[in-house]
């Protein structure tokens, strides 16, 4: 009987998680919990086919062989974990690389074959759809020539031109600027350190669905954080809203789990006053306003980007 994709991914997750724990040696529950909520693979998330695809591809035997030629064997926890799993009593022989990708292919094929016909849907709802005729025309055209591979060529000449290289370098500089805000500051809002911290706190309570909540907090609030005053602004947000509360939440969560109940210690209420200046005394510590910063006004939102 052919294993289903969820079953395979679950088995793979179990094996890989076991490997990670084995690597951790005498890892206690306390230290293992943040690991399991702080990244892949873990419980629920491994069932997400597009999330786990990269992990599965990276486990393909031919990938392992090629990576080994680059000296990568043993250089990351995935490889170590796989080896540890195979030496352990918990090893479940799953051809993760091929099995999962094959099953994903089958799931996709089923979706494409048994999906609702878009043309029929358009026709059924044409009276309620704006510009149904135009949409039908364009969508039909796209679906008729549904082919994303084997194009005649990419715009390689521009890719390889000096222009493209300059562009890549300039863009990289912009990305690097953003990374400077990483670690404990703005990068945190995009899934870095803060995401892990909050994930440890929140995920501990979230059980099987535990996952780090580290997505970008973009849009209007993101504009505020990531704007001109973003670097210090993010530090200010971190100091005033999240850092202490999540740390204490983590402590509180741990105590709850292990029987030492105590109320979470909350950061002091903040003043949302509109006066005062922002940025003075920000300093290299990444905090806003220096000591007593919670009484400072928040940085102002930049004009919409």
């Amino acid at each position: 009987m052919k294993a289903t994709l969820p079953r395979l991914t679950q088995r793979f997750a179990l094996a890989l998680t076991a490997g990670v724990l084995l690597l951790a040696g005498t890892a206690s529950v306390a230290s293992a919990a943040p690991q399991s909520v702080g990244g892949l693979p873990n419980g629920m998330m491994i069932n997400a086919p597009f999330v786990s695809l990269g992990v599965c591809v990276a486990q393909h035997p031919e990938v392992l062989a090629e990576a080994g030629k680059l000296g990568l064997k043993g250089a990351d926890t995935l490889a170590d974990g796989a080896e540890a799993i195979q030496d352990s009593n918990l090893y479940i022989p799953v051809d993760a690389g091929m099995g999962i990708t094959q099953n994903l292919s089958e799931e996709i094929a089923k979706a494409l074959e048994e999906g609702k016909d878009i043309g029929e849907l358009l026709d059924k709802h044409k009276d309620s759809i704006k510009g149904a005729g135009d949409k039908l025309k364009v969508i039909s055209l796209i679906l008729k020539g549904l082919k994303v591979a084997h194009l005649t060529g990419h715009v390689i000449e521009s890719y390889q031109s000096g222009d493209r290289e300059r562009f890549a370098e300039a863009l990289n500089n912009a990305v690097k600027e953003g990374l400077k805000m990483g670690g404990d500051a703005a990068g945190s809002w995009a899934g870095g350190a803060l995401g892990a911290k909050a994930g440890a706190a929140i995920g501990a309570w979230f059980g099987g669905v535990g996952a780090i909540p580290g997505a970008i907090i973009g849009g209007a609030v993101g504009s505020w954080i990531g704007g001109k005053t973003g670097e210090a602004g993010a530090g200010w947000i971190n100091d005033n809203f999240v850092k202490d509360s999540t740390r204490n939440l983590a402590d509180w969560a741990f105590d709850q789990k292990h029987g030492t109940l105590r109320e979470p210690m909350l950061p002091p209420p903040i003043s949302g006053g509109s006066s005062g200046t922002f940025g003075s005394g920000g300093g290299s510590s990444g905090t806003f306003g220096g000591a007593g910063s919670s009484s400072q006004a928040p940085p102002k939102l930049n004009a919409f980007r």
């Binding site: 892949l40 695809l53 990269g54 591809v57 393909h60 031919e62 990568l72 995935l78 490889a79 994903l104 799931e107 999906g115 609702k116 878009i118 849907l121 709802h125 309620s128 704006k130 949409k135 364009v138 969508i139 796209i142 549904l146 994303v148 084997h150 990419h154 715009v155 390689i156 521009s158 222009d163 562009f167 890549a168 863009l171 990289n172 990305v175 953003g178 995009a190 899934g191 350190a193 909050a198 706190a201 929140i202 309570w205 996952a211 580290g214 997505a215 970008i216 907090i217 973009g218 849009g219 209007a220 504009s223 505020w224 947000i237 809203f241 999540t246 969560a253 909350l266 949302g272 928040p298």
Partner: protein, 351 residues
């Protein structure tokens, strides 16, 4: 207990339960220019973190996430509107949407907020209305939603293959093509949903141009179906060699080993970009997964994204008809630099 523990903490701060006067303002979608208050930002972040849990749950189990996080009305609407367009077999396409969507926070009024998930790869927005029930154990529930196509979000009336399907086929660098979708979309969202505005699911300006639920979802579905085909191609036997190449790149990025990356990538690879890739937080580097694949006669372009932090992605270009050693070039991209990317491209691109 759940994420709501965090809401309890914020309740203890005495802020989200007592929205400021500014928070109570209804700007009717117009920016006040003063920006959000500290309370709004803090509540907004917590709203965002909560919805992100819904996103990650849905990436694994759409129906389960809807049932867990949505109230009865939300669930009924989901069944009525979304199931009409995506049947049970096609749920996998929605998992793709949730996997690489970023979280945007809009208008909020204390425990009532608007949060959206935008996926630039399918140019689709899911606007969510979230309410947190106060009490000793606050409970966050999604009370309403609306899928919005990128075209409607940005106010584009004319639907064309080149405009609505700009990533397939790719006509310019992936970096630029994605930026053309992301930059104006986040700008439009910010105009429509300022944090000091009322937490309205559909602001008047958007109501004027949005299509019926099916009309919006049809366009989104077409792009998601196209992406399923894309993944099918990526996973095909014919393209196995390219999958192996991407797998090796994923492993090298995971290791954050500049020497291994140098050995794998082209001699033309910019060292600065390589260093930047290695400078990414290790949590971001370790779970890259394919998000884009485009094959041409002369090259292959693969996009990698971390579902946990979809803000960053890697554009990998392999120049050659067949997989071979040292033909790859990578670019690290932060979608938040999209506007800058377009400006730079405007200066540098061949006229």
């Amino acid at each position: 207990m759940t994420i709501l523990t965090a809401w309890t903490a914020f309740a203890g701060l005495g802020m989200v339960f007592m929205p400021s006067a500014r928070g109570a303002d209804n700007t009717r979608g117009k920016a006040s220019g003063d920006g959000p208050t500290a309370e709004q930002a803090g509540a907004g972040i917590t709203h965002g973190l909560t919805v992100n849990l819904f996103r990650l749950h849905a990436a694994a189990d759409v129906d389960g996430a809807v049932k867990k996080w949505g109230d009865n009305a939300f669930q009924a609407k989901w069944t009525r509107d979304v199931r009409e367009v995506f049947n049970e077999h096609e749920t996998i396409a929605l998992k793709d949407f949730f996997t690489s969507a970023v979280v945007w926070v809009g208008g909020m009024k204390g425990l009532h907020g608007i949060v959206a998930l935008y996926n630039p790869w399918s140019d689709a927005l899911l606007v969510l209305e979230q309410r947190v029930e106060a009490g000793t154990a606050p409970k966050a529930v999604l009370s309403d939603f609306r899928f919005v196509s990128g075209e409607s979000l940005r106010g584009i009336a004319a639907i064309t293959p080149a405009g609505s399907f700009s990533l397939h086929p790719l006509r310019e660098p992936l970096t630029v093509a994605v930026s053309r979708l992301y930059a104006p979309s986040v700008a439009a969202f910010t105009r429509l949903y300022p944090p000091e505005g009322a937490p309205e699911l559909l602001p008047a300006a958007l109501q004027e141009r949005i299509d019926s639920p099916v009309g919006e979802l049809i366009l989104i579905k077409t792009r998601l179906v196209l992406r399923l085909k894309m993944f099918q191609d990526y996973l095909s036997v014919e393209n196995k060699g390219w999958m192996i190449q991407s797998g090796v790149l994923i492993r090298a990025l995971t290791a954050g080993d500049p020497a291994a990356l140098r050995a794998f990538l082209s001699e033309k690879q910019s060292p600065a970009i390589l260093e930047t890739a290695c400078a990414l937080n290790s949590k971001i580097r370790k779970t890259f997964t394919p998000v884009y694949f485009s094959k041409a006669q002369d090259s292959v372009i693969i996009g990698l994204v971390n579902p946990m932090a979809p803000r960053w992605y890697i554009e990998a270009t392999f120049t050659g008809a067949q997989p071979a050693p040292r033909i790859g070039l990578i670019q690290v991209v932060d979608v938040e630099t999209s506007a800058k990317a377009l400006t730079l491209w405007g200066k540098e691109a061949p006229q």
